[in-house]
């Protein structure tokens, strides 16, 4: 009885961590960008205010849209929150851990993408179709990179359970994996070299084009889901690269937080210093990310002949 009560309490605490802290990351990125540009920038908690505001607004529904227009973002949000629960949080471990949960993580991310794309196409708007086409075609390359990265981690540790897999070794393989996963993070979250989250020029939008017709609570759910995904990618990158298995709980938690902050600041710096790439250059960069993860896989395979 106490066992299951403890489990439920842990689950709720973890869920609270992911849901409450996720909207902080875009705020940090914006603060870094403002600092580089010498502006004051929006407040750190801007996304929380936005979400609260959107939640109170009414939902405008297109007459041509089916219920999937609202269900899509909801399912995507649940999938992302579920994926986040699978990821171990440093010393605290994962809420759920079983053999093969790495595969479930990949599929939950894919499910979230599918639902967002589906909901985007519900209104039949040309812009959203265009944004969806771009998002999905880039996703083909991103997923290849993620699968290569997960495979290299799994070969390194001989396990397909996230809790065991995320105990990295230092060396050339870790550096390659870090570079590859960081590029994946930028692409997966539509950050600058791939897509500009601030742009509202229809011809260049990817993710923003997909959510043009959403309003009110569904839009809030989409934005919150996107911030969970950003936090998830940052945690995954930190734990896949930073060896903190041997540390005591407190330093390990500190290292995790520092890693997440470093990744977030890195995203902000990249965003301040780089311009968006032209569309025809994007697949080249994504292929490079795939190759980085592939060579990390090669090193893991050569280094571990057993």
């Amino acid at each position: 009885m106490t066992q299951s009560l403890l489990f439920i309490a842990g689950l709720i605490l973890r869920l609270a961590f992911w849901l409450m802290l996720a909207p902080l990351l875009p705020g940090i990125i914006n603060k870094v960008k403002a600092w580089v540009a010498g502006r004051r920038g929006p407040p750190l908690l801007q996304l929380y205010y936005d979400l609260a505001k959107l939640w109170q607004k009414e939902t405008v529904l297109s007459t041509s849209a089916s219920p999937a227009f609202v269900a899509g973002p909801a399912v995507a949000w649940v999938a992302l929150a579920g994926a986040a629960l699978l990821l171990p949080l440093g010393p605290a471990g994962a809420a759920l851990s079983f053999r093969g949960d790495a595969l479930l993580l990949i599929y939950l991310l894919a499910l979230a993408r599918f639902c967002t794309a589906w909901a985007a196409m519900e209104t039949g708007s040309a812009f959203e179709g265009m944004g969806t086409a771009r998002e999905v075609s880039y996703a083909v390359l991103i997923e290849a990179a993620i699968i290569a990265a997960v495979l290299s981690l799994s070969i390194q540790t001989g396990s397909i359970s996230l809790a065991v897999m995320l105990s990295p070794t230092s060396g050339a393989g870790a550096a390659l994996l870090a570079a590859g996963l960081f590029t994946v993070l930028l692409a997966e979250n539509c950050r600058v070299p791939f897509d500009d989250p601030n742009t509202h020029l229809e011809l260049t939008m990817i993710h923003e084009a997909m959510v043009l017709d959403h309003s009110g609570p569904p839009l809030a759910v989409i934005l919150h889901g996107a911030s969970i995904k950003l936090l998830l990618c940052a945690v995954l990158l930190t734990e896949a690269v930073l060896p903190m298995r041997g540390l005591a709980p407190l330093p390990a938690a500190g290292a995790l937080v520092a890693g997440i902050l470093a990744v977030t600041a890195g995203v902000g710096l990249v965003e301040s210093l780089l311009a968006r790439f032209a569309f025809r250059r994007v697949p080249l960069l994504l292929t490079t990310a795939f190759l980085l993860c592939l060579f990390a896989l090669l090193i893991a395979w050569k280094g571990n002949p057993a």
Partner: protein, 220 residues
């Protein structure tokens, strides 16, 4: 001949860097960045002979290393840049094999080079090192650049990477190859690039372009 693990690790890191630079060369879309990649690769390879001579200092080897770094890292890139400026060509590379296919080909070549080297009957002291896979991968990358690029200068860069691959092979025999051969190869290479620089200028004057696809028909 016992190689300390530290030295071997650094050597493998350098060769891995050279392999990464191969892929960078395949993916770069501008001539100056391609030339810079090739020059950095030349510098990286120039350091290698010093590492193979762990501890002991050999004048001949140091001379080879210095000449390689100066020649491949400074002299040849400067010649190429000069030819590029003199011929006044645009800096975009026009590939006949696209960047992504050539990148994937290069990665496939690198991976199969590593797999192939595992199957070769190598000396035990070379079994753990990346020397042989690095050499094969660089030669393959050079071939891809030679075949897949249309501008004469980018083809020269492909030729240089191919030669870098042969140079890595030469590292296996550094103690038995006389200094004369090494310096002869380097001199040949420099003269070759010098001549190509002049030819590039001539092609540019005669055809108003450096596209080698125009050079397929013979005329009286």
């Amino acid at each position: 001949m016992e190689r300390q693990p530290g030295v071997s690790g650094t050597l493998n890191l350098l060769i891995g860097l050279a392999m990464g630079l191969n892929l960078l060369a395949l993916g770069s879309s501008r001539l100056p960045s391609l030339i810079r990649t090739v020059s950095v690769q030349g510098m990286v390879l120039g350091v290698m002979p010093l590492l193979l001579e762990h501890g002991r200092f050999d004048w001949a080897v140091a001379l080879v290393a210095l000449a390689t770094m100066a020649g491949k890292g400074v002299l040849i890139p400067a010649l190429l840049r000069r030819a590029m400026r003199a011929a006044n060509i645009e800096r975009e590379i026009e590939p006949s094999i696209g960047f992504i296919p050539s990148l994937l080909l290069g990665a496939g070549g690198t991976i199969s080079a590593v797999a192939l080297a595992g199957a070769l009957p190598l000396l035990p002291e070379h079994a753990g090192s990346l020397l042989v896979p690095g050499a094969i991968a660089s030669v393959l990358t050079g071939f891809i650049l030679l075949i897949g690029r249309t501008k004469a200068i980018s083809q020269v860069c492909g030729y240089l990477i191919l030669e870098n691959g042969i140079y890595i092979f030469g590292m296996l025999l550094i103690r038995s190859t006389p200094l004369l051969v090494e310096s002869g190869i380097l001199l040949d290479l420099t003269v070759g690039v010098f001549v190509i620089g002049i030819i590039v200028d001539r092609i540019q004057r005669a055809f108003d372009s450096l596209d080698t696809r125009h050079l397929t028909t013979l005329r009286e």
